[in-house]
């Protein structure tokens, strides 16, 4: 199916636009499936309920996170789409290059996106592996069989993405999301009824959470208010700077497609919220697992009939392939357009060829990370990746509205933000939140990404007037006011 996609409304697949952005021609419905399949990844669908299963209320932050992301998209990303469409950008680093005329900043932003996407691709494989493990059982050769299944799936993924580009995941997203909606709606109707209703589920979950180490709660406690809000806000702000989000956004045919989808995509947030609540169902059903990631698959296995279990598991496996393909395309674009291009000017045809080859390399690298790096590290890096990605916020989102910042001040802020993110994450053993001392022995527990980006913005704001006073020459702005409207 992914291969057939190359024939779907094609023009010349040697053009980067055509291969990487589906010819910038997707309408409201295709974009809805594509963005939905891209943003709500298999890993999300495994990890969010797992967090709720393990820690309770704090895991529900994914709901306000995916609620506030869309008003933001409606205003800010629609503006980005406009300038990208007018000036033919394929990546967000293309915009940074034109806006500031600064190659170092462009490369910094491109590498950030690349670094954030790689562990994310590896984690899609984790989503698949969790499912394969259910099927293949725990026999002596289970590990080998799982790995073979992973390698085969990923080889297919790499091949169809190479030939068809973004059209492949767009077409597959229809199947994936269809299966996913059926699965989750069935689960949310059927499983709670079997478990004695929501009243019983919440009560049983509250009891089970109390026994956890550290104990979880059903209602968010005051000491986690700021952590909750900052996780939701910080995640929402970084979501659309990720290369895979940008790739899907730019494939839209018009700004209206993006605006409409800002009102329609929350249907996926509702799905995610219901899925998060299945984490409580797993608690109420006394699902026993050492690894919280297995909570939902085990719940499905215990309650769904075999045939339907197949549909559910297929949904998650295919669900991993769609975002993985788009992430590979997005990161390949960043490398081909913004890193290679700065050192060696390619002709457009070569640039597309390089992007395609890089896309294969990225898939391969994702697979290697999954097979040879302990999974805890992939999860750490993915958490850290969100924090790194947000450090691109001032150079990209602020830049859509103002050119006041000096590019070298932004670069300095970015560098400090990256170092601060890594340092804070390392200090707390790679968790998402950091207890910031606020004096008098008090701490404010908040999302590392948000703390780091505040430092980042502060540095950029302080250095800008200094660099301007020093008359440090900044590059030219190639965009005009007319490009943004």
């Amino acid at each position: 199916m992914g291969f057939v996609a190359s024939r779907w409304r094609t023009a010349n697949l040697n053009k980067l636009d055509e291969w990487a952005l589906g010819g910038r021609g997707f309408g409201t419905i295709v974009s809805w499936f594509l963005l939905g399949g891209d943003l709500y990844t298999a890993y999300t669908f495994i990890a969010v309920p797992a967090l709720v299963f393990g820690a309770g209320a704090i895991g529900f932050f994914a709901v306000p996170y995916t609620t506030i992301a869309y008003p933001f998209v409606f205003v800010v990303m629609a503006r980005f789409w406009t300038v990208a469409n007018n000036r033919n950008y394929v990546t967000i680093a293309d915009f940074v290059r034109d806006r500031f005329g600064d190659r170092s900043l462009e490369i910094a932003i491109a590498l950030t996106g690349f670094a954030a996407a790689m562990p994310y691709i590896a984690l899609q494989l984790l989503g698949m592996q969790v499912i394969f493990a259910q099927y293949l059982g725990a026999g002596p050769h289970a590990q080998a069989a799982e790995n073979i299944a992973l390698i085969l799936s990923f080889a297919i993924l790499a091949a169809y993405t190479y030939t068809s580009g973004l059209r492949a995941p767009a077409l597959i997203a229809f199947v994936k999301d269809g299966l996913l909606y059926i699965t989750i709606i069935a689960a949310i109707v059927y499983i709670p009824a079997r478990l004695g209703g929501w009243g019983h589920i919440f009560a049983a979950a509250a009891t089970a959470l109390k026994a956890h180490r550290p104990p979880g709660t059903l209602i968010l406690p005051p000491n986690l208010y700021f952590a909750y809000a900052s996780l939701a806000f910080g995640s929402a702000m970084s979501l659309f700077i990720y290369p895979h989000s940008i790739t899907s956004l730019l494939s839209a045919r018009s700004r209206l497609v993006i605006q409409r989808n800002s009102a329609l995509l929350p249907l996926y947030s509702m799905l995610l919220a219901l899925l998060a609540l299945l984490g409580y169902c797993a608690l109420a059903a006394h699902v026993a697992t050492k690894d919280a990631n297995y909570a939902i698959p085990l719940l499905f296995k215990a309650y769904f009939p075999d045939l339907f279990l197949g549909v559910a598991f297929a949904a998650i496996v295919i669900g991993a392939l769609v975002p993985a393909a788009i992430m590979a395309i997005g990161s390949a674009n960043l490398f081909a357009s913004n890193v290679f291009q700065e050192f060696h000017k390619d002709r457009p045809r070569d640039q597309t060829r390089h992007a395609k080859l890089l896309c294969l390399a990225v898939c391969g690298a994702g697979l290697l990370i999954k097979l040879f790096v302990p999974v805890e590290y992939a999860i750490y890096f993915q958490l850290l990746g969100g924090s790194l990605m947000l450090q691109a916020f001032p150079s990209t989102v602020f830049a859509l509205y103002t050119r006041w910042f000096h590019p070298r001040a932004l670069l300095a802020g970015w560098a400090v933000g990256i170092v601060a993110s890594v340092a804070m994450a390392k200090a707390v053993g790679f968790k998402a939140v950091f207890p910031l001392p606020t004096g008098g022995g008090h701490v404010l527990v908040g999302y590392i990404a948000l703390y780091a980006v505040l430092v980042n913005i502060l540095i950029a704001a302080v250095l800008t007037p200094i660099f301007k006073a020093m008359r440090w020459k900044a590059g030219a702005d190639l965009t005009t006011a007319a490009d943004y409207v």
């Binding site: 309408g27 409201t28 209320a57 529900f60 709901v63 306000p64 995916t66 609620t67 506030i68 869309y70 008003p71 409606f74 205003v75 209703g197 929501w198 009243g199 919440f202 059903l218 209602i219 968010l220 406690p221 005051p222 208010y225 909750y228 809000a229 939701a232 806000f233 045919r253 018009s254 700004r255 209206l256 497609v257 605006q259 409409r260 800002s262 009102a263 329609l264 929350p266 249907l267 947030s269 509702m270 919220a273 609540l277």
Partner: protein
Amino acid sequence: MKRRVWYWLLSLPFVATLYPPFYARRDPVIFNFPFFYWYQLLWVVLAALVVGIVLLAAGDKNDV
């Protein structure tokens, strides 16, 4: 200028969902769902409606 006025509506979901002291409570329970959960589920829908209203009032008209 008129367009900008409508855009202010889009700040509502931020205010409503980013201040947990508002909603981190159990009561009132509706359909056996604690307030903390149904309030946030409700805002998924309300935020979509708010965006929809702004889209109709101040969004693009042409799909070109």
